[in-house]
Symmetry: D2
Subunit: 190 residues, 4 copies
């Protein structure tokens, strides 16, 4: 029986690189592998772009009301890979689950676990609740410890209030991956 | 820096046994290790009881409004272990996080990830969002695959509607750990 | 296809407890699960005994020349669990592999990874090379870090020379689980 | 205390991609990260090349008698990353261990676990015995299951006898990653 796997990690943990490698492995073996990305993520346009210098066109851009189950049932791929899965809706995550159990097609979803305020993204939270396997992709904080939080910077200065979804593209917003200790220090709670 | 670790598993996956082993390992080395349990879980009274035949008294029963951070700050243990963590409140999970980062005391929390309807418990969901490490304790379904769902039985018959929190103690309610495929088959969706 | 799984850990990491829980989970569901133990390990006699206070009789004591494949082919259990697997011979580990692939019966093997001199046990080394999954059971060093080494004590004093296999039963030999740093400090190399 | 981490995987599991991402993450943060590769591996020359299309020059080519500990003690990097670690000598693996414990510099080593005959490479075997953490990088077999074996092909035909170390570069030798079941089928044992 196919599995729904959630591989989460903070920004710059290498999620896109890992995802592109997985797609590459399937395609190299001649398996049809569909690459999906929520339309909400406009960074990179209709491509998944890795900081390390590789990219791949997205097969389907997913809208808020896209029925992913119907899409996959029609396309019948060997496997499904989702980038930036945190931007999917909770009911779309349940569609991913049914894709694995009813259609028996594996789904590997990559994304952030929580936002710059340590709040879950609704899509990621639903995934954490129902994924068959949950794995972490790791990177380090400037202090050397494992980074677990996505700190938001406004013109380079840490901020802890604001909207959840602001893409770090063509704005004065950027993100920095830090450990929980450094996060609380920047926030003045430690 | 101390970590907040969430070890989740379905019913009968051996969570209590694993937890009691961890407490045993700390205590054997002479470390003060506090064992906490939400008061909502009345099974076993003020003890953690494992099906395999071992038990241990709980050090503190946690009410809905207990300030766990204040409790631990006062007690200053070497480590904190929590049983049935799914019954804690989300803000109490945030207290556990601060215990690890501000007091530098490790917290190991054991519990269910989701209920009989595949919905998250608010406490577990918050843990999945912020825990430094998330690990699964596994057991098998009757069919041999990994069990991931807690199916509720009313007088032995699977039911898929009802309240979230009913302890399987002195009632006609019981639970069965099944894989996602068997769960959907029992539910008539597969 | 069934898997050969190696769960290793230092002494006192809770291997026997975890193993007994696994056997319990199988038996509780009505599955025939065979518990094997090398005859070389005389501690506990024909039982697996956990420090936490639980035990279970061993189904088969394995000699150096026991053909485990033939034994399991005849017994046809649902699953096989092996305690103290480090005392098996490398060719017996290969028999375990064939049990999983040819007979399609899962094998879960628990044991030490390396001895008091940081040398591998031949059986464990072969398992590390071919097991389908390798997982670590963890416990802590007195210093709080993860214990990874089994330090041998002679009348309570650390020793770093001697035979590989001396059971800590009715002798003046005992063992202490320590982290790599403390191990090298005791050894005078750090 | 720094850790010695072994990330193993079969051929084409994405080891080089994952390794280059790790180096990238360190360098991007301004940390000095040394990339080492045994001289025995002549594929790609003095570079690590990933099938997915990225590469990076190697900082040091390691000979059979290179004292890696002395090299790192002199260079004092923030972290050490090793590609094709299976070609190091066992005593060089012990040098890596001391680098982490005495110099407190983390070492991440990537490589194969076993050869085309399911025999361990001496360097990898030593790593499996002493690494602080052992993790698997996975890919799939043509049959869809997890690939765990490196099957050797001579002009496209599976062979099960021969020397351990033949690089698949400018020869009639190639390798195919398969699951244990398919491996035994090709070998005629299943």
């Amino acid at each position: 029986m196919a599995k729904l796997i959630f591989r989460y990690g903070v920004m710059s943990s290498g999620k896109s690189t890992a995802l592109l490698q997985v797609v590459h492995n399937y395609v190299e073996k001649g398996f049809k592998c569909l690459l999906l990305k929520p339309s909400l993520d406009t960074k990179g346009g209709h491509k998944v772009v890795s900081r390390i210098g590789i990219e791949r066109p997205v097969d389907h851009s997913i809208l808020k009301d896209t029925d992913i189950y119907a899409l996959i049932e029609k396309e019948k791929p060997y496997a499904v890979v989702v980038d930036e899965v945190q931007f999917l809706q909770p009911n779309q995550i349940e569609q991913l689950y049914k894709i694995t159990k009813i259609l028996n097609i594996p789904v590997l979803a990559y994304g952030l676990r929580s936002d710059f305020q340590m709040k879950g993204f609704p899509g990621s939270t639903r995934l954490l609740e129902i994924a068959d396997e949950v794995e972490e992709l790791r990177t380090i904080c400037d202090c050397g410890k494992k980074a677990t939080q996505n700190m938001r910077l406004l013109n380079g200065v840490p901020v802890f209030e604001g909207e959840q979804n602001i893409i770090d593209d063509k704005t004065d917003i950027s993100y920095k991956s830090v450990c929980g200790e450094c996060y609380l220090k920047f926030k003045g709670e430690l």
